[in-house]
Symmetry: C2
Subunit: 239 residues, 2 copies
Amino acid sequence: MTQTNQKHAVVLLSGGLDSATSLAIARDMGFACHALSFDYGQRHGIELAAAAAVASAMGAVEHRVVKIDLSAAGGFGHSALTDDIDVPMDRDVSHGIPETYVPARNTIFLSIALGFAEVVGACDIFIGVNAVDYSGYPDCRPEFIEAFETLANLATAAGVAGAAPFVIHTPLAGMTKAEIIARGCELGVDYSLTHSCYCPARGAAACGHCDSCRLRAAGFAAAAVADPTRYATARRRRE
Amino acid sequence: MTQTNQKHAVVLLSGGLDSATSLAIARDMGFACHALSFDYGQRHGIELAAAAAVASAMGAVEHRVVKIDLSAAGGFGHSALTDDIDVPMDRDVSHGIPETYVPARNTIFLSIALGFAEVVGACDIFIGVNAVDYSGYPDCRPEFIEAFETLANLATAAGVAGAAPFVIHTPLAGMTKAEIIARGCELGVDYSLTHSCYCPARGAAACGHCDSCRLRAAGFAAAAVADPTRYATARRRRE
């Protein structure tokens, strides 16, 4: 139950490790959290099921899923996340814009979060971008987030009425994957509920080889936390 | 047929008078125009049919309709355009945020246009906001458009690769409704194809009393252009 004067926040929730931690941090800061996920033709509904489980476990006041059919506008472009092209495996993840880049994705997600925030009376929006993302995705960089915050305060009735009320929170911005996991564990995040793999096997087991799996596994190792991820048998065979 | 070196533009097209003129201007500037409309639970599919007719008549290279179901996120809020609340009739349209304001609408539309632009290789996006809109809608103001342009160039792979390639065009920005109509007539816009009414009668006839109808009718009168709008009989009875 939310307290009468509790502040409300919209938290973007993908079902992955980062956004689950972002939700835990928002809750720890005292916000009543409205979790928001997107069904945009991802290849894996597994992510949305994970998001629902995380929202429930972390005490979100609600969890909404917005469906956007972008197939008419190029389906967010040719991304390995939405099309039938191969997800890159075992590549060097340290630089370059990855093939999993989806044109304008975070801009679209934050825009819809902004509209939702106006509706529920929230001025705070949480997005789980982190330091690892900066190297590859232009729409994860701090200068992008700052520009969106400026936009949000010009775009809205609330922004016109108040003095720049909207704040875009990126609580993971300066954190490594290991630091994110360590913080999440302190806040009681059950990472077994989260899903990160771009290329899961039947039954939602993680592949262990895509960028996302490798960053996640390295994070658990570096944080010295037992990795709760359920991997496909193929991973063990390939290692 | 587009020329090999013709520049491409994404043009937001609502089916109304303004965006039809914006499309005509983009075409007159030499752009191959990719028209983009949104199906977001408007009460009137009439708008989308008008948009398709306008895109075809004005030689757009394609017309895409993106469906966004925002009912899960409050349906863009309580707006007379998407909900079953009454559209205001015969009100003073000179100031205040109207009830037809939809939270973050232009931010969401421009964000999706940006993703579409990256996919088709366009760096130019046209949106038909105009001087009349400024008084009421925060996301029609020039400072909002400038902030979005800044964001676009930070948000995208194209923005990272080039020196701020994205331009958000608002060709109607300084124009009155009469000036828009006069310019559109010069460029061959068939305004009988367009639809502006927020509250149409059966058969798509315009009500003649909502904000949109009244601004449109006054525009034709001021431009000394015969109004091609088909009004519902009720309009004549009320006058």
